[in-house]
Symmetry: C2
Subunit: 492 residues, 2 copies
């Protein structure tokens, strides 16, 4: 297995693109900007889905499904939201093809099959969902509505990259409706916390919780909570957002309820989502020049066993032993693959499973049989150890837990050493041009300054951290008063 | 809870439409022909998905995800397939909206954002998937490809009905590629059998396995295997199809492999799918004039417990006892709901859970506390029984299994008594006009006769049963020779 992987130091962006394809996660399709998620990549996404779905249900949410299309008049009802997405919409205008008489065997759009009203392929589902909620809410007894949808959405991005930015992507979108403002805010914060919990403890990616500035806020939201991660190249990545929508969509779609006193009020809303973009974050946080590094919680194969043998008899003896090991590991809910292909040599197999990020590799050869040992290799550190057969199951089980923790600690350490406080714009630029990462700086709170800084440095305000200290200071760019530091970074 | 459900005898079609909405399964959306699947309906679909997904994986398949859009030139590559779906396609022609200067606050399609090539919203994914497989298959070692996708698809149907026929629907579509014809045929048959197993044993719906005639075959297939169910109104419903595609898509998309001798050959294909249509079959097979009847294997709530009380003290005492019961049922993996709402009376609750098809209802009143009993009611038969507390868990567990079996037996009995052999066209018409069901008749094997019969009676050939006896006869319509009976029916 020839990897030929560009190294991160050579070209980080190229390394990422190659790795996603070579590790069989995804590839570009014949449709502009749309990707094919390959079985190995999809198996990781399924594990993410299963855990998130469990967490959503545990917090009282139910799944439902709403239409893919949004009629234009419905789409434009919430003006800010419509404006935010209008420039990147796929629009269905016709509903039939017919034979093209000039080109035998070819088809053309039938001009007689034009829709009366154009349909927008959902870029997000607030419009269609709030237009539905109108029929579901009459009284305070109907609230809260706590609903999630697993779906595909389309945003016609001009520059796309596998997982990070694709025209079509998969995501979940929660849409909730509440009787009070306080409850809706509590929900937005709760779901931000669910996301942070998932991304940190399941994906081993540390995140900073914060609020978006008005400029970076979701179109149609009153407040956007976010979790921001840091990639190995010093660029930030927004890993999830949770929006407090105020009564904006309730007003746009006339969703009212009778409160306990019988008075009509507008409903308060939230929405929140994470997407296949997280797959990009996963790759860019942990992987190395040998290939993927997967946290055990997300690895479709957690342990691969490779036999080392010179004769069929040796393979038979090894196989008998391995069968027992496989069974006992599976009993511990560890997913194991015995790679007994006779068409490939051990070195090829080692490289392949390294590329695919299998957390633990066990090699078994004739010597191991003699000595009652296995050779156990960690993917994350590439460290090998010879381990006794006795108690190997517990050893492996503990090792997987340890790897999960170590990956998080390593990423956390990287992240923490890449938050730099700066007090001048020169410093600000210098940090961005060298190590990158988050730049913690005072900001005067205006969109104009934010925009200028972005023009000059390509850095945006990733978030106003929820745990920031309120502290008087001077804006790093204008010198105007600031009430506390915010985090800037270049971002995916 | 006022049900006001039209009865099946009054108007079967109206009964179905009302039931789907009133039982909170689905509703029509603000988008023509598209439905909203509500949380209760979606919870049933999730159970179906989970079981099918398990069965697909057990038979060696992996999930993946392919783009929503198919460029027109790719779509038209397999001519028969394209022709079959061209008349009902949603077509994306533009990628941007802009402000409509004549109507402030409104949007219009930006004429400057016309796509160079139109995109078809997938009605099925053979084209996009086979265009991808071209890159995945070089040698016989790359085969078979055994891939499934859970996705939404769009077919611009003019007359739509919730679940049964909607412009957008959810489904899974398996797409496999094989080195030999025999292996591909084996796969098509295997997946038909997986579907039959699922629909019969999980949904309690008996099916007949068969082959479609050329007229009814999937566009682009060499052979379509199907499973056909019978609804309570005597109309058939196609519950799943599995297609042997021959080399049609491999040729259209140039998917070749080097065989063991190094010779280039075209790959052999299959595709197979079931959809949210099965939700319609579920409703129409088992439900009655009181509402839904759900097989325990699919019921989101298998047991509901309703307290009967006159004072808060009584409710407290009952609640304490019920808490213990709930826990012990959950230990047996039974999903239980304790309906302790104080805002509704028991009669209202009984009617609501009947409408929603919960298989078993337990009522607990003060007398039960005294006597050490529960009142247990079956949703399917509406029979109530007073049951001792001792061993109630085992009783309920067995009862759920019994209900699952009884529902299947009842449906099987109905189906079996609604297959009528006829030997003249008068008999044929008489059966269709009275009890309906499957009409088993000789047919001369021509599309022309099939078409004539359809024109005259609206009945189509549902399938050529796989287990039919080869037997000489005369076509019920033309009198021409026939080699065996086929099953006709009016169908959904």
């Amino acid at each position: 297995m020839s990897k030929n992987l560009t190294t991160r130091a050579e070209d980080y962006s190229k390394w990422y693109n190659e790795l996603v394809v070579k590790a069989d996660l995804a590839e570009n399709s014949g449709v502009r900007g749309c990707m094919v998620i390959k079985p190995y990549g999809y198996a990781i996404w399924e594990k993410m889905q299963a855990e998130l779905d469990r967490m959503f249900k545990e917090t009282g949410h139910q799944n439902a499904y709403f239409p893919l299309f949004v009629p234009k008049s419905m789409f434009e009802a919430e003006e800010k939201n419509a404006e935010g997405f209008a420039k990147e919409c796929a629009i269905v205008t016709h509903y039939r093809l017919k034979n093209d008489e000039d080109r035998p065997g070819k088809l053309m759009v039938d001009p007689n099959a034009k829709l009366e009203e154009e349909l927008i392929v959902r870029p997000t589902s607030e419009a269609i969902i709030w237009s539905t909620y109108r029929g579901w809410v009459q009284s305070y007894r109907d609230l809260p509505l706590l609903i999630n949808q697993w779906a595909n959405v389309v945003r016609w991005e001009m520059r796309t990259r596998l997982f990070l930015r694709t025209a079509e992507f998969l995501w979940q979108e929660g849409h909730t409706a509440h009787a009070t403002k306080a409850e809706a805010i509590e929900e937005s914060e709760k779901m931000m916390n669910v996301y942070a919990d998932f991304v940190e403890n399941f994906m081993a990616i540390p995140v900073i919780k914060g609020l978006k500035t008005e400029t970076e806020r979701f179109a149609g939201a009153e407040e956007t909570y976010c979790i921001e991660a840091l990639m190995q190249d010093g660029k930030a990545l927004q890993a999830g957002t949770s929006h407090f929508l105020g009564q904006n969509f309730a007003k746009a779609f006339d969703v009212k309820f009778a409160n306990a006193e019988g008075k009509q009020e507008y409903v308060w809303g939230t929405s929140w989502g994470v997407s296949t973009r997280l797959m990009g974050a996963l790759v860019m946080t942990h992987s190395d020049d040998q290939g993927l590094v997967l946290p055990p919680n997300l690895a479709p194969i957690q342990v691969v066993i490779v036999p080392i043998y010179k004769s069929d008899e040796q393979l038979d003896t090894i196989s008998n032993e391995v069968d027992v090991l496989v069974k006992s590991l599976r009993k511990l809910n560890i997913s194991v693959k015995f790679d007994n292909r006779t068409t490939q040599k051990p070195g090829f197999k080692f490289a392949e499973w390294e590329l695919k990020g299998v957390p633990v590799r066990i090699a078994v050869g004739p010597k191991d049989l003699e000595n009652g040992t296995y050779e156990v290799a960690r993917r994350d550190t590439l460290v090998k150890e010879v381990v006794s057969k006795d108690g190997i199951e517990t050893y492996i089980s503990n090792l997987l837990e340890q790897i999960q923790k170590d990956l998080f600690e390593k990423a956390l350490n990287y992240r923490n050493t890449h938050i730099t406080e700066v007090n001048s714009f020169d410093e600000f630029k210098a940090v961005l041009e060298t190590e990158g990462g988050f730049v913690s700086a005072h900001w005067d709170g205006t969109a104009a300054t934010e925009e200028k800084i972005k023009e000059l440095t390509k850095a945006t305000i990733r978030c106003i951290p929820l745990d920031r200290v309120e502290q008087a200071g001077s804006c790093v760019f204008t010198g105007d008063p600031s009430v506390g530091r915010v985090l800037f970074a270049k971002a995916y």
